[in-house]
């Protein structure tokens, strides 16, 4: 079976043909050093976490240096890759053989191609900026060294996730980022809410991980391997049923990590972590791992249209859910978290559109990484100046007092609502186009999403930076130190030019990714100018409604009652209630009945067997109390069974 498949695999691989089918060369020269990308932050984490208090003084500098070193390495690799011809930009770096057990072997090797280097630059670039920002943000925290250690650990794990060339190795990175995320959400463990949120993220992510595990198990069953090259090249030989199953399992994994419906509930609570963590892990990088997973598995999804439809549906539901939740939250970070869910919904939806959407999903992922990190860090800067107040009903009029934060935040704001020529305009518009080209329903979902996005972001902007001053504290809110505003300016600039740059600089991101993701041109059901006009009009309507509600009128400090939708949105659209009813209750019943079964059933079975052998039912209870004689009788019974089993086999 395996040999037939691998023969098939070789045959398909030589043909190439679909996305992911580009030739992959053994790495030479500078590409041979790809492992350094992971080694730097891993070493940083090891020094900071093992070194203990001795490294307290320089811990933050070591952390930043490790991340920046990795970024520089990423740049070197990127430019080296640009120097290669466009069909020779994928390299594998063989590190060592992990296991070779019979028919199944796993190599620890890295895959450096156009897709992974894009992620590497995002992770290390934005990651380094957030490391620098954290020097200021965490200055007064006595566990700052540990914080940087965890951040480094996260960066290392995330890089392993995107560089792995085998699903199993990727899964190690996948679990690594989960661990780092868990540690960082619960970083302020003295707060009960933080440890509860960390546990929730942990548990929900395990559900997603089951999807990953099942996907890998299916791959082993079908392809006999979890290595990218084998799986992708032999995908065409597998049955559509299996591919759909694998695709759905991978989608479940992606839902867990990327907070997509129905596993979205942990992300809002994850905002209990320090704000730089929210920016790096829960906005820019880790939560996009699901999108990476789907795009990376393009070869499977290309052949499984049903699975792709499921991806689109999940993306559409989440993008609307996240946007609605974002409208009702008064906590600035939770509003941004709802927005993150919604934007990742866009990416997942785009990824579900197949070759027409993969590149746009990654494009939006990158621009979103810029402007969302920018806004989260901006929110952190606001909180820093407001004694960690997160309730926007206690903000107001901050644009004068925090000019740098305001200006950079405004760049992120204009980017996310999609005003040309800011970054989000290019990336989101491409997704809306692709969605309309696919069908009207997805198109409308993305269009409505854009309108709601404009509404809640304008609301956030108005409540925070404009309007009446509603804060109670005695001293004036202050602007943050340069070590924090510096990264804000860089990210702000990227929010302005990132979209245009990525789309048009050089050959543009679509051509850049084409060898990995494949390419498909779509035909719009209407002229492009009309669609752009409609989109912009929707955005303007959203902004206008928000201004009418929060700009013209003074914002109330108490929470108004609100209508049914608002109340539902405040309660995360009853995501927790849903989980409780669908997962928790049945789970509790299951465990309860298992315990019951264990007490009655399993013990009963043991006792029952003993009765048959010993015939002394009155002494059954004592059997468990450890009498040698009862043990001996059990053994004797076992002897009888074993000998009988041996003899019975020979009977015809």
């Amino acid at each position: 079976m395996t040999s037939t498949l691998s023969a098939l695999a070789t045959a398909v691989a030589t043909e190439g043909g679909h996305g992911g089918g580009q030739a992959v060369a053994e790495a030479t020269g500078v590409f041979d050093l790809t492992w350094l990308l992971i080694a730097f932050p891993l070493l940083g984490a090891a020094i900071l976490l093992v070194g203990g208090r001795r490294t307290d003084k320089v811990g933050h500098l070591i952390g930043c240096a490790a991340s920046i070193a990795s970024f520089v390495m990423g740049l070197v690799l990127f430019f080296a890759m640009v120097g290669e011809p466009s069909d020779g930009r994928a390299f594998t770096v063989q590190l060592w053989e992990y296991v070779n057990a019979g028919g199944y072997s796993v190599d620890v090797s890295l895959l450096l191609d156009q897709l992974s280097i894009s992620f590497v630059l995002l992770i290390t670039g934005v990651g380094s900026l957030i490391h620098i920002y954290s020097i200021g943000y965490m200055e007064h925290d006595e566990r700052r060294r540990r914080f940087f250690g965890y951040l480094n650990l996260f960066v290392a794990a995330m890089l392993l996730l995107v560089l792995a060339s085998d699903y199993l190795v990727m899964f190690i990175g996948w679990e690594g980022v989960g661990l780092a995320s868990y540690l960082l959400i619960g970083f302020w463990q003295h707060k009960d809410s933080a440890s509860v949120a960390a546990k929730k993220a942990f548990v929900v992510n395990r559900v997603g991980d089951m999807g990953m595990v099942l996907a890998m198990a299916s791959m082993i069953a079908v392809f006999g391997s979890t290595a990218f090259d084998v799986v992708f090249s032999s995908a065409e030989g597998a049955s559509t049923g299996w591919l759909t199953v694998i695709g759905l399992f991978l989608l479940l994994g992606a839902c867990g990590k990327s907070a997509q419906f129905p596993l979205q509930s942990w992300l809002l609570d994850a905002m209990e972590g320090p704000t730089p963590v929210s920016a790096l892990i829960h906005a820019a990088t880790m939560v996009t791992a699901g999108v990476y997973l789907i795009v990376r598995s393009a070869a499977i999804y290309d052949l499984a249209p049903d699975a792709r439809t499921a991806v689109v549906v999940v993306g559409a539901i989440t993008l609307l859910m996240g946007a609605i939740i974002g409208c009702a939250k008064d906590d600035i970070k939770k509003a941004l978290a709802g927005s993150t869910m919604s934007q990742i919904g866009y990416m997942v939806l785009a990824a579900g559109l197949g070759p027409a959407g993969y590149a746009f999903a990654i494009f939006h992922l990158l621009t979103h990484g810029f402007f969302k990190a920018n806004m989260f860090l901006g929110a952190g800067s606001v909180m820093h100046g407001m004694n960690d107040e997160v309730n926007m009903r206690r903000y107001g009029g901050l644009r004068i007092l925090m000019p740098a934060t305001f200006l950079t935040f405004a760049m992120g704001y204009l980017a996310i609502i999609g005003i040309p020529p800011f970054a989000g305009y290019f990336s989101k518009d491409k997704i809306i186009e692709a969605a309309f080209a696919d069908n009207w329903i997805t198109g409308l979902a993305t269009l409505i999403g854009a309108g709601i996005t404009a509404f809640y972001m304008t609301r956030l902007m108005l409540m925070t930076f404009f309007g009446n001053r509603r804060w109670k504290q005695s001293e004036l809110p202050h602007e943050s130190p340069p070590v924090m505003t510096g990264p804000l300016w860089v990210l702000g600039a990227l929010s302005v030019v990132g979209g245009f740059g990525l789309l048009y600089l050089g050959a543009g991101i679509v051509d850049w990714l084409a060898p990995v993701t494949g390419e498909a041109h779509h035909d719009l059901p209407m002229p492009l100018w009309l669609l752009i006009t409609i989109t912009l009009a929707t955005v303007v309507v959203g902004v206008a409604v928000a201004w009418a509600m929060f700009g013209r009128r003074a914002v109330r400090e108490d929470v108004p009652a609100g209508n049914a939708i608002t109340v539902a949105a405040r309660n995360d659209l009853y995501g927790d209630a849903f989980n409780e009813a669908v997962f928790m209750r049945p789970g509790q019943y299951l465990t309860r009945s298992l315990v019951y079964f264990e007490n009655r059933g399993v013990d009963g079975a043991v006792v029952g067997t003993a009765t048959a052998v010993g015939g002394l039912s009155a002494r059954m209870r004592r059997w468990q109390t450890g009498f040698v004689r009862s043990y001996a009788v059990t053994m004797l019974g076992g002897v009888a069974v074993v000998v009988l089993a041996m003899l019975l086999v020979r009977l015809p």
């Binding site: 076992g638 089993a645 086999v649």
Partner: protein
Amino acid sequence: MNAPTIEYAELAPLITIFGAAVIGVLIEAFVPRQLRHPVQVGLALLALVAALVQVILLAGTDMVAAVGAVAVDGPALFLQGTILVLAIISVGLFAERRLEAGGDAFAPAASSLPGSEDERILVREQRLQTEVYPLMLFAVGGMLLFPAANDLLMLFIALEVMSLPLYLLCGMARRRRLLSQEAALKYFLLGAFSSAIFLFGMAFVYGYAGTLRFGEISEALTANIGQDGILLAGVGLMAVGLLFKVGAVPFHSWTPDVYQGAPTPVTAFMAACTKLAAFGALVRLFYVAFGGLRTDWQPMLWAVAIATMLVGAVVALTQTDIKRMLAYSSIAHAGFVLTAMVAADSTATAAILFYLATYGIATLGAFAVVTLVRDSGGEATHLAKWAGLGRRSPVLAATFALFLLAFAGIPLTSGFVGKLTVFTAAIDGGAAPLVVVGVIASAVAAFFYVRVIVLMFFSDPAPEGPTVAVPSLWTAVGITVGAAATLLLGIVPGPLLDLAQQASIFVR
């Protein structure tokens, strides 16, 4: 009549250990009391290291020595080497003297009445029990011989040489002596019972084959037609004797009581090394001598493997004592090894060798951690007392969590690679349904391992919880080696897998 030739060079590891054990007994008689402890520990370590060096030098040997009685081949040498490494760490645990005020884990005199005036005097004088070291060396000698034994008589002698000192060692705990003595007596009675069954089976097999040597038995299987009943009954009875030693269901009932009652360093030694030696013997006997009968014994092993995995994993769920929990966990692990054994080929042998090595080292480490968590009554083995240990002593709790994750078979630990190899071997050997049961049992088992981790890290510490004692270098080295090996073999298992692969052919 010619005297038989004995290949002394190839038997050197065995001779070294047994010789050192005899010298150890003489030391007890002739060396002054104050010097005995350092001398005995030194001698034991010296002998074990010397034997290990000899085993390494013998690597690649493939022969039958001592007139056909002892095999010197890949599986034997691999297991002997592993047992010696584990025994060296165990000596360190035995010699730990910082945990108990003025003593080690052993009663000053096992014969004194618990709670009597005699005992109090001995404790006050800080008398140390040093006979444990020669006893341990005898046990190690038996363990080295057990997987190498190539005829029935040698197999039985090795079994007894290995077991008798262990019975004694189990009864020597300094604390909770009645529990310890009860465990020893139970172990002895049940062990004697299983030995008798084993001997009975041997007699049947000899009656059928007319020879004691494995190779000749194997030939007799194809030669003698008829009288199969006596042979099959013999094979079944011998299987029982060996399955008892590995702790397979339904011959497992001694395991929890003995693991709980024995002094923890002895439990660690026993759990790690006995299992290795007994599996070595079981695999050799069934592959070499009874290989031709595999279709007859495979169904029986299927049943035993399934029962072992399920009972071990399910019953462990309700345990409240950490040592009992680890005991049931060891039962479940015996079941996982049995799944591979059903396959009966060299891939399976390699998988079993690798699994045993990784399991042994993690077990040793886990029990070593148990010796450190103490309250006023000695070791605090009740699970409730481990609540919140992660806050009190994060490093220790993280190390223990690592061992538990390895037992649960989580990636990046040696346990994952071990489970993967045994399950793959079982699938290749046509035992896929067993693997399904194995995976289910692993899932159940993962639950109670993770429960302990959750308890350690997410529960509030008990108000009068145990303290974590600071060990001397002996225990610290043992735990560190165990943790490092568990992690390293999880990340780079290749070299050891290759070694196991090379060592997987039995001499015939």
